[in-house]
Amino acid sequence: MTQDDLTIADPKMKAQGVDVFYGEKQAIKDVSIDVGTDLVTAFIGPSGCGKSTFLRSLNRMNDTVASARVTGTILLDGEDIYAPSMDVVQLRARVGMVFQKPNPFPKSIYDNVAYGSRIHGLAANKADLDVIVERALTRAGLWDEVKDRLGESGTALSGGQQQRLCIARAIAVDPEVILMDEPCSALDPIATAKIEELIHELRGKYAIVIVTHNMQQAARVSQRTAFFHLGTLVEYGKTTDIFTNPRQERTKDYITGRYG
């Protein structure tokens, strides 16, 4: 499974022997994977395979589930994110997340983007904050569409715009990693294409990990793909290899539509 040219010299995140349990049930079994700084990594697999669970363990989102327990090691720049000294709020600023359903706060577009910077104290004054908001909205490809109505509610935007607003909110606090959990599954094809284009533009600025049910999307946006099945990482490789010549029979069956 492992090939030499898959080695990531300086991984942004490194998971080693990770198990995740929900109570007695083991959802993730012994997963080890590196997330490269300049790469988009896609997690694919059937429903219930554990890909979202694993994604959520990368910024300790599973902490919010009482019965969830994570063992093994997950490092961010060599630092154990499950160490007692780790500030979870800081961690989630460094490892941001975008969810399946756009979830803007019921606040203005401006306040949605400014929110994180305010609570993290990233802006000294209103002028600084204006710069942060404009830059984040520009990077998220939304600035031109909303610059004249920043005071309007974020929830008044279209679904695709709301999702880009959520991405703007995530990148406003200058994260190092962005986790995306099926970010396009509630969007139409045009809004989806805009998000995919955005992912392409954000590559290199942030390490990006995306969970998707849409294999074509994984093929389009990622450079590395990981296939999960029944809580295990079945195959990890270059996206081009996974989709043209997967090594594992289970991967092949899944991506060619023979699964089930």
């Binding site: 294999m215 074509q216 093929a219 989709f243 043209t244 010549n245 997967p246 991967t251 092949k252 991506i255 060619t256 539509g257 023979r258 699964y259 089930g260």
Partner: protein, 240 residues
């Protein structure tokens, strides 16, 4: 023909099976065209030769049909992995089979140009050569239908024998021409026939290489393919 029936979307299986059926039919027709062209040549059978020329239109039509079905399947089903490799191979294989059909047609067209009273010893050797080439085409297409990479490798290895036949026939025909200038036209035609057969063998090898790629996802290695055929060029040099 190996049927596929394991996709969740059954209509996809139907498309793939239809594609495989068309390619099998096309290959069968090309193989038959070769055998009939050689039979027409051996017996001076002009009617059979005309039938081969006419039959090539159907081979061309099948190529177009496979191309359309492949493009349609890629567009509608977004095939991945071995399914995707099969689509790409299908496109390449039918263009090769179409070429094989053209060579058979070319042989058939020469029947009318030959002297029916000729007695040239090269003909029986040409018949053996054409039997081997027909066998290679047959096995190459069988290896596609059966997803048999080993059979594909054996096709490429046996293509060496086709090259040996060609070298041998080349020498024989050159000798004939030197012995009696009256044989030159006849021998030149037969030399083209031998060259056509040699090219068909190469095309069978191309098909086998595509099959190997479909099945394994890898290019066929040189060592598995045996020596590369340079016999014709070498022999021509030797004789010159």
């Amino acid at each position: 023909m190996a049927l596929t029936n394991d996709h969740t979307v059954k209509a996809f299986d139907e498309d793939l099976n239809r594609l495989r059926g068309l390619i099998s039919e096309m290959g069968g027709r090309a193989e038959q065209a070769l055998l009939q062209a050689m039979s027409a040549l051996g017996n001076g059978d002009l009617a059979l030769a005309a039938q081969v020329v006419q039959g090539d239109k159907k081979i061309d039509a099948l190529e177009t049909e496979v191309e359309q079905l492949t493009v349609q399947t890629i567009a509608l089903r977004a095939p991945m992995a071995d399914d995707l490799r099969e689509m790409i191979a299908a496109l390449k294989i039918v263009s090769v089979v179409e070429r094989i059909g053209d060579y058979a047609k070319n042989i058939a067209k020469r029947v009318a140009l030959m002297d029916p009273t000729r007695s040239i010893e090269a003909i029986p050797v040409l018949t053996s050569m054409s039997s081997l080439v027909a066998e290679l085409i047959h096995d190459a297409l069988d290896s596609f239908a059966a997803r048999d990479a080993d059979l594909a490798v054996r096709v490429t290895v046996r293509d060496k024998n086709v090259d040996d036949f060609y070298n041998s026939i080349f020498r024989t025909l050159v000798t004939f021409m030197m012995e009696n200038p009256k044989h030159i036209t006849e021998s030149a035609h037969l030399l083209f026939v031998a060259k056509n057969l040699e090219r068909m063998g190469d095309h069978a090898t191309n098909i086998a290489e595509m099959v190997y790629y479909v099945v394994t996802g890898e290019r066929m290695e040189e060592r598995e393919r045996g020596e590369s055929p340079e016999g014709g060029a070498a022999a021509e040099k030797e004789q010159g």
